[in-house]
Symmetry: C2
Subunit: 208 residues, 2 copies
Amino acid sequence: MNSNRMTLPPEIKKFIDAFSELPGIGPRQATRLAFRLTHDRAQHIEQLAQALRELRAITLCEKCFFPYSSSAGHCPFCSDPSRDTGTFIVLEKETDLIAIERAGVFRGRYCIIGSLEKSGALDAEHEHRLATLQNTIATTAPDGKAREIIIAFSPTTTGDINASRVAQRLRSYTQTISRIGRGIPTGGEIEFADDETLAEALGRRSSS
Amino acid sequence: MNSNRMTLPPEIKKFIDAFSELPGIGPRQATRLAFRLTHDRAQHIEQLAQALRELRAITLCEKCFFPYSSSAGHCPFCSDPSRDTGTFIVLEKETDLIAIERAGVFRGRYCIIGSLEKSGALDAEHEHRLATLQNTIATTAPDGKAREIIIAFSPTTTGDINASRVAQRLRSYTQTISRIGRGIPTGGEIEFADDETLAEALGRRSSS
């Protein structure tokens, strides 16, 4: 909204500037949110600010990069002794991991490499996380080699290109490397898939 | 996202619960936002929390209900002596007011009565704000009667029904009562209109 910013109180301008930069929140939604919150009690605003500030206590796991509470002291996946240390799923983001956990059919480990760029190339952070996975496998997997690595990228052009790149990087660290089955419609997004489709896609994975 | 909440750190759960209740932010967007913010520096999170907390310094004007900074001490519209005290626009929300200000053709006063319910009836808050407008007119308009009140509700079924109700409440407080012209496509929303359409709609207003 190309609004006449002169009439807006500085506190509201500041809020709009700060929040409109967040993913999925543009200037229009930030503006509506600001006005809505001015109707709320100070106590509610304080609660929201507190919930936001508490996120500072979150740490990313050094092995799988899933966020966990510093007060808990460990990642719920990497620290779980009941999970198989010989199989890994490589995926883009936390919400994809949650969708796969929800399907309830995978009991191995994860590596979140971060959102893939449409431009195609793997960036320094992706490479760092893949190197971390290689190191984890070398030091913790039985015989220093994974039994299987499943690449679970959304079946889009970007996902396809990068699945090949990632497979190349990891091939010598595993007996088998596979890609999550195409039970998911091509062009779709992993996090929107229902549990059954996800479970089938895991079951029908093909070698990469 | 009907996620397996067991695996989420308590700080992230708390954030999702708090932010998914805000208008336009559902559980899915709150979840993405939470994960995204766990990648940000603590300093950035603190900035967002601070921008949020500063909204507590916002007060709603007792006359027109536009939010203003307590530090400024007055509403930018009601305190502006260059604005006509004999004409008023009654509208639903702050973003509608900003759109009208942006069009730059109205130099009177405002009354924001709050978002109208689809069910149709005016609630206690709407009635309170209309009573406040009646009182403002009686005490500050020349001769204790407005020259004109323009009702600027979006031309939807809800807007049409409530425009009649509001006109009924205000008829004895003004020489003329009008409705913003139908330059705006029926079914559309005031805040999305471009400046020219809005200016024309104000110019072609019809009596109510």
